[in-house]
């Protein structure tokens, strides 16, 4: 372990994002996120851990559309954490907003408290008709119904790399750890890394004049940093 705990952050470069949904499917594949079907989606019960919001600006013909991938913002002052009666969600030393599935009793208080509404709840029994269950990732709990889940920054991948690195007697190098969405993102819009490491790519990008935080005015101090689109990087 490093002397100072890492502070994992995700950089989302909105100037690169093309809204291609690769991250959405990658996340679903990596984290055993169930598909809920048409009806439940209409009911507003979809479970994507990461979703890409599309905003319209202006009127035809002078109209623009912008994409913004939104996932759990891993807040430092997370509004969702204190309200859970059973500590099913709490803050890890490396700044992750942890969700412990086998603690959760499903009060959905965190969901109501989250200003970003990125926490999803398993409304019904998730189904993986045979043999689709073979696709399930053994590193990730398959959630039963009745509990809250959300983006974990692919903590299982963080751990895997850390363990491999430490087995080789070294620290993970910057960029080695990649959540599924970051790994697949075709235009490299997503960058993951340790903010406490001044030399890391995220630390440099975080200082960009384009950087902002979602609902920054709420002071939740998210671990996801967005880079504004439509501007050059200097």
């Amino acid at each position: 372990m490093a002397e100072i705990e890492p502070r994992w952050v995700l950089i989302v470069d909105l100037d690169r994002c093309t809204g291609c949904q690769a991250c959405v499917v990658a996340c679903q594949a990596e984290n055993n996120v169930p598909t809920v079907g048409e009806h439940e989606t209409i009911e507003g019960r979809w479970l994507h851990w990461i979703h890409i919001e599309r905003y319209w600006e202006g009127e035809y013909p002078n109209i623009k559309a912008r994409f913004m991938p939104v996932m759990c913002q891993q807040c430092t002052a997370a509004p969702c954490e204190p309200v859970c009666p059973v500590f099913a969600t709490y803050h890890t030393p490396e700044g992750l907003n942890a969700q412990i599935y086998n603690r959760c009793i499903g009060t959905r208080f965190c969901g109501s408290a989250c200003p970003y509404k990125t926490r999803t709840y398993n409304w019904l029994r998730p189904e993986f008709p045979e043999p689709l269950h073979e696709q399930l990732n053994p590193d990730v709990t398959v959630r039963s119904r009745g509990l809250i889940e959300k983006c974990t920054f692919c903590v299982q991948r963080i751990r895997r790399i850390e363990i491999e690195a430490h087995a080789q007697g070294r620290e993970p190098v910057d960029g080695e750890i990649q959540p599924a969405c970051v790994q697949t993102c075709p235009p490299d819009a997503l960058v993951f890394g340790d903010l406490n490491d001044p030399s890391s790519r995220v630390s440099q990008l975080a200082t960009s004049h384009r950087s902002f935080k979602l609902l920054g005015e709420l002071g939740t101090d998210p671990g996801v940093i967005y880079l504004k689109g439509g501007e050059t990087n200097v």
Binding site: C75, A78, P82, F87, H91
Partner: protein, 175 residues
């Protein structure tokens, strides 16, 4: 009560008569603790000229309150340190949550201790046979007296003099 004692129950219509009768019985030398007055209405203290007796209830409640306070403090201010999980932007123990929990536990203890305390004081439940007369719940005031046989006539006189509707052996009813 010892063997050679007589015990009587007398029923009265009016509280004034009852009070008078009690005074007279006092003059006969029968002390308060040998008389029991049963009514279907709580008469104010001294209404029937009896001495007010000491109750330990407030102390029981106080003790209960302190216990509750300590439990509340333990749960809300100590256990979070024993079981340390950090939640976003909050200290392990914050004053407001601790205050709420402590307060509620104190109140709970007060309520429970009051209830248990009063039962204990009335040494309830006591279903065993006890001298009683059903007329009591119909509005009659009953005096239960125990005295030495030599006072028998005097007592009866006194009771009659005060318009006792009924004078007789108290029947032991298993309540």
């Amino acid at each position: 009560m010892s063997e050679n004692e007589i015990s009587l129950v007398a029923l009265f219509e009016k509280s004034t008569d009852t009070a008078k009768a009690i005074d007279d019985l006092h003059t006969l030398g029968i002390p308060d603790d040998r008389m029991v007055v049963m009514t279907d209405v709580p008469y104010p203290e001294q209404a029937l000229g009896r001495t007010r007796e000491w109750s330990s209830l407030p102390y029981i409640v106080l003790a209960g309150a302190i216990v509750g306070l300590l439990i509340g403090l333990f749960l809300s201010a100590i256990t979070p340190h024993l079981y340390r999980l950090d939640v976003g932007g909050h200290p392990p123990v914050g004053f407001p949550p601790a205050a709420v929990i402590t307060f509620v536990f104190t109140m709970m203890a007060i309520i429970v201790s009051t209830f248990l305390g009063v039962l204990w004081e009335m040494d309830f439940p006591s279903f065993g046979p006890a001298p009683y007369h059903k007329a009591v719940t119909d509005g009659q005031l009953a005096i239960l007296i125990e005295f030495s046989p030599d006072l028998d006539d005097k007592v009866n006189q006194v009771l009659k003099a005060n318009q006792a509707d009924y004078i007789g052996e108290p029947e032991m009813i298993s309540l």
